[in-house]
């Protein structure tokens, strides 16, 4: 795989496009700089007296400012989009432990379960190493789901790259994030905050 995973939520789609846009700008700037360096190294022209370079200095001050604005505006747009008020249809709590996650669905009946990573020796053929778990989190699609993330012991972080989510699990604090999966499927994530010897497992 090269690049980001396919987007499952609208926010992740926006992030993908923003990433493409910004990376293109970065590649353009890098190639321009490399080209100019190569020109500098291969020329026989020299000029040792003081130069007046007012025009080019103005250009290479204004142009980066414009480029930065072109990067910042979509970035801020996505940032505010992530903070939009939406009324979720379901609340799922997840508590980080060393070294597993437990999930609680308490809107209607109480459902709580632990989700351990499947050790490599117990994987079946075709299963992904270090990603498969025994009890998966099942969520409805095309519905806004409120995820409340906390921890029972040390810092963890609940991340699902395909949905564009990464939220820290802090003991004593309840962090909220909303997700909306637009297509059915199986999405993986790993703990994203160092939490001990079996971190990410």
């Amino acid at each position: 795989q090269l690049g980001l995973q396919d987007a499952t939520s609208p926010i992740m789609e926006e992030l993908l496009h923003f990433h493409d846009h910004t990376l293109m700008i970065v590649f353009l700037i890098s190639s321009l700089v490399l080209y100019i360096i190569s020109l500098m190294l291969t020329t026989k022209l020299t000029h040792t007296s003081t130069m007046d370079a007012q025009e080019v200095e103005t250009v290479w001050t204004i142009l980066p400012a414009i480029i930065l604005i072109l990067i910042a505006l979509p970035s801020l747009r996505i940032l505010y989009m992530m903070d939009e008020i939406n009324n979720p249809s379901l609340t799922v709590k997840t508590m980080g432990h060393q070294w597993y996650w437990s999930y609680e669905y308490t809107d209607y009946e109480d459902l709580n379960f632990d989700s351990y990573m499947i050790p490599t020796q117990e994987l079946k053929p075709g299963e992904l190493r270090l990603l498969e778990v025994d009890n998966r989190v099942i969520l409805p699609m095309e519905m806004t789901v409120r995820m409340l993330i906390s921890s029972e012991d040390v810092l963890h972080s609940w991340a699902v790259p395909s949905l564009g989510l990464k939220t820290d699990a802090i003991p004593g604090r309840l962090n909220q994030t909303t997700l909306m999966a637009m297509r059915p499927g199986l999405y993986y994530g790993q703990c994203s905050e160092i939490c001990g010897s079996n971190h990410s497992f």
């Binding site: 008020i85 939406n86 009324n87 979720p88 249809s89 379901l90 609340t91 709590k93 508590m95 432990h97 060393q98 597993y100 609680e104 308490t106 809107d107 209607y108 009946e109 109480d110 459902l111 709580n112 379960f113 632990d114 351990y116 117990e122 025994d134 009890n135 409120r146 409340l148 906390s150 029972e152 012991d153 939220t167 004593g172 604090r173 309840l174 962090n175 909220q176 994030t177």
Partner: protein, 124 residues
Amino acid sequence: MLDVDSQKPPKGKWSTPPFDPRFPNQNQTRNCYQNFLDYHRCVKRMSRRGKSAQPCEYYFRVFHSLCPRSWVSRPRGRRRLAGGARVEGPVQLSRRPPPPRPPAPPQVQRWTEQIQEGTFAGKI
């Protein structure tokens, strides 16, 4: 797994706690705690006036949905499976026994226990 009936929303319009403009940001700790306090205060005042605690049910649903159960009370030891059978301990969905857990840190007293013992820090 759970039977179909328990996956349907109960009669009435409750699905999940709505957006609370008092707590618009990422940190919902206060949302959970405030609704917990409001529930207990509501129950205390209603019972003092001799009225039914039915209006307090909203606060109960909100904190029950938002608060991690380990903060509120000790997990109940008995859980119902499809078919009505009860089992001790959490639902065993795993296909293999979980690995041995590291020793648990000293237990923080949960809120409900603290209220019963009179050591709860909030004002109810």
